[in-house]
């Protein structure tokens, strides 16, 4: 068991991908599986900032939303091909991350969380009012990507299984990217900042620049999740930018385990599945999810995956 676990830890990206490859077979319907992929990626991006750097942002929906909207706008209003539109979406999210991050890292602690909330809401209102481009409250419609041409092959994007694996391809690349960052010396600096940022500064690291860089990287990942979401849903709803979505990212990371690589994915899967199952049984799903969440905060602060990892690491 211990050796298996060590092997998994070394090749964590491969292990996660292996799991995700067979995931559709476990899930009863593919739209849920795809949602888990997308929100899992969103949570992983968020976790980069929250779990690994220790910065609790309440405005991360802004990056998901900007990624979605700019992809959609490029497709619908610009007529760009889907892959170029995605590049636009991700790049725009990165720029948003740069701007918001630059402003936000001037504050610390609870004020950081508050200022990200405020800035996120400002982005929300800006997109809400720009009705001509974004559709306002009605959302951005008209995103139609029925087929994907890869050289000689034509993939039917409407087929849910095909769609899942196409999205998985992107998620795989993003996860590999995140894993590389975390395993690099930069990854160590990030965690040092989380533990004690004054001390990290004393050791000679440029804390502000580190924070900003993580912010941008986090925004890029979340932007990618957003871009993929736009293609999946065929619309961009306005609440992609609302702080309630930011709150969901926090919940998923906590449920799964902050500061672990796979935790956010587990959290996203648990959260979405719980919501889904609870909705089938009862109208009061909100109370159930809220109560489960409270239980986790009180008794399993490391989240499901985090607790499991801790247990396995203790078995010696």
């Amino acid at each position: 068991m211990r050796d298996l676990f060590a092997l998994v830890k070394r090749h964590r990206v491969a292990a996660v991908l292996l799991f995700l490859l067979v995931f559709p077979l476990l899930m009863p319907y593919h739209a849920l599986a795809i949602n888990i992929l997308l929100f899992g990626l969103f949570a992983v991006g968020f976790n980069l900032l929250f779990g690994y750097t220790g910065l609790l942002s309440f405005g991360h929906a802004a990056f998901l939303g900007v990624g979605s909207y700019l992809t959609g706008i490029a497709l619908v209003h610009g007529g760009w091909p889907w892959w170029l539109a995605m590049v636009a979406g991700v790049a725009a999210a990165g720029v948003a991350g740069l701007v918001i991050g630059f402003l936000a890292i001037r504050t610390r602690g609870i004020y950081f969380s508050m200022v990200t909330l405020a800035l996120g809401q400002i982005v929300y209102y800006a997109f809400y009012k720009a009705e001509r481009w974004t559709g306002g409250e009605n959302g951005l419609r008209g995103i139609q990507v029925p087929e994907i041409h890869l050289g000689p092959w034509v993939l039917d994007f409407i087929n849910p299984v095909t769609k899942y694996y196409v999205i998985l391809a992107f998620v795989a690349v993003a996860l590999w990217f995140v894993s590389r960052i975390l395993a690099s010396p930069f990854g160590a600096v990030i965690e040092a900042v989380r533990e004690n940022d004054r001390r990290a500064a004393a050791c000679g690291y440029d804390v502000a620049r580190t924070k900003l860089l993580v912010f941008v990287l986090s925004a890029l990942i979340c932007g990618l999740a957003g871009a993929l979401r736009a293609l999946h849903l065929s619309i961009v709803p306005i609440d992609s930018l609302h702080y309630l979505l930011s709150g969901q990212a926090v919940m998923m990371c906590l449920l799964g385990g902050m500061g672990t690589f796979f935790g956010p994915f587990v959290g996203a899967a648990v959260f979405l599945t719980l919501e889904d199952v609870a909705t089938v049984f009862t109208k009061h799903w909100m109370a159930i999810v809220g109560a489960v969440f409270m239980v986790f905060v009180l008794f399993f602060p490391s989240g499901m995956w985090g607790t499991l990892v801790k247990r396995l690491e203790r078995v010696r």
């Binding site: 400002i122 009061h284 809220g290 109560a291 009180l298």
Partner: protein
């Protein structure tokens, strides 16, 4: 559009009335943060519970004043239970955990109200003795909203007297300054925190029952209010009571005047205000510097 002085004056009074509700909400939030360093994300939910409980007591007794007295006691009691069993275990774990817990709690409270009172909410109306509008000279203004301003002033005064002039208030203030020393001096600081949480949530419930006659009472009414409360608390300074009052009035007036000149930007304007304050002077008007995680 013609902006006459009387229109401006009426708009100002409206802003003050709005600000009164904001101030009450912010006081509860600020009190809890200043004393316990806990960000209560369930504050909007307690506000909403207060509105429902208030209407329930009104229906039971037929007397508005009874419900005004009973409601904060009931909501405060819920707050006491929350602190003792849900929040207390999380002290020492960092600022994020109580925040997250209260976030989950808000969902549970909202659903609880749906189950108890129905999904549509209950109709509320102004108590008969406070109905009607008063001619202020520059326009008609609802009597009830004037009452709101008065009620807020009375509550703020009572709170101030409690904190400044009573022995227990002294303990509360000392505890927020330095909890360790208080413990050393033999004060049961955990009990103080419990009481403060109860007072904070009680005030939230009170603002709910006061606000109920002016708006629709439904389980979702607290969600909107939460964001606004945060704006006010941040601007005033987390942990400062005079800050909460001043910021409440300021935000109310800013919102009111923006609504006159650029109504569709009114809601955006308060978030811009929040961002600006956080970036230039994060501790707000009177907040303590260095209140961090």
């Amino acid at each position: 559009m013609e902006i006459t002085p009387s229109l401006l004056a009426l708009q100002l009074v409206t802003g003050i009335a709005l600000g009164a509700v904001y101030a009450l909400l912010a006081i509860g939030l600020s009190l809890i943060f200043g004393m316990l360093t806990v960000v209560n994300f369930a504050h909007g939910a307690f506000f909403m519970v207060g509105a429902f409980v208030g209407l329930y007591f009104l229906g039971l007794t037929g007397n508005f004043w009874f419900s005004l007295v009973l409601t904060p006691l009931v909501v405060g009691a819920i707050g006491l239970v929350t602190e003792r069993f849900l929040v207390r275990p999380l002290y020492g774990r960092g600022i994020d955990y109580p925040l997250l817990l209260t976030f989950g709690l808000s969902w549970v409270l909202i659903e609880a109200m749906r189950v108890m009172f129905g999904i549509e909410g209950i109709p509320s109306s102004t108590p008969p003795e406070l109905r009607g509008a008063v001619d202020l000279g520059f326009g008609y203004f609802p009597k009830y909203r004037l009452f709101l301003i008065l009620a807020t002033a009375v509550i703020v005064l009572a709170l101030w007297l409690f904190l400044e002039k009573t022995r227990y208030g002294l303990i509360v203030r000392a505890g927020s300054r330095d909890g360790e020393i208080c413990k050393v001096l033999g004060i049961d600081i955990a009990r103080v925190w419990l009481v403060v949480f109860g007072i904070g949530t009680g005030i939230a419930g009170l603002s709910g029952v006061l606000a109920a006659p002016t708006r629709a009472v439904n389980p979702e009414m607290g969600i909107h209010v939460l964001a606004e409360s945060f704006v006010v608390t941040v601007v005033g300074g987390m942990g400062s009571l005079p800050g909460a009052v001043l910021a409440g009035l300021l935000v109310g007036i800013v919102f009111s005047l923006t609504s006159l000149f650029a109504p569709d930007l009114a809601e955006l304007s308060i978030f811009v205000l929040m961002a600006v304050v956080l970036l230039i002077r994060p501790q707000g008007f009177f907040g303590k510097k260095g209140l961090l995680s």
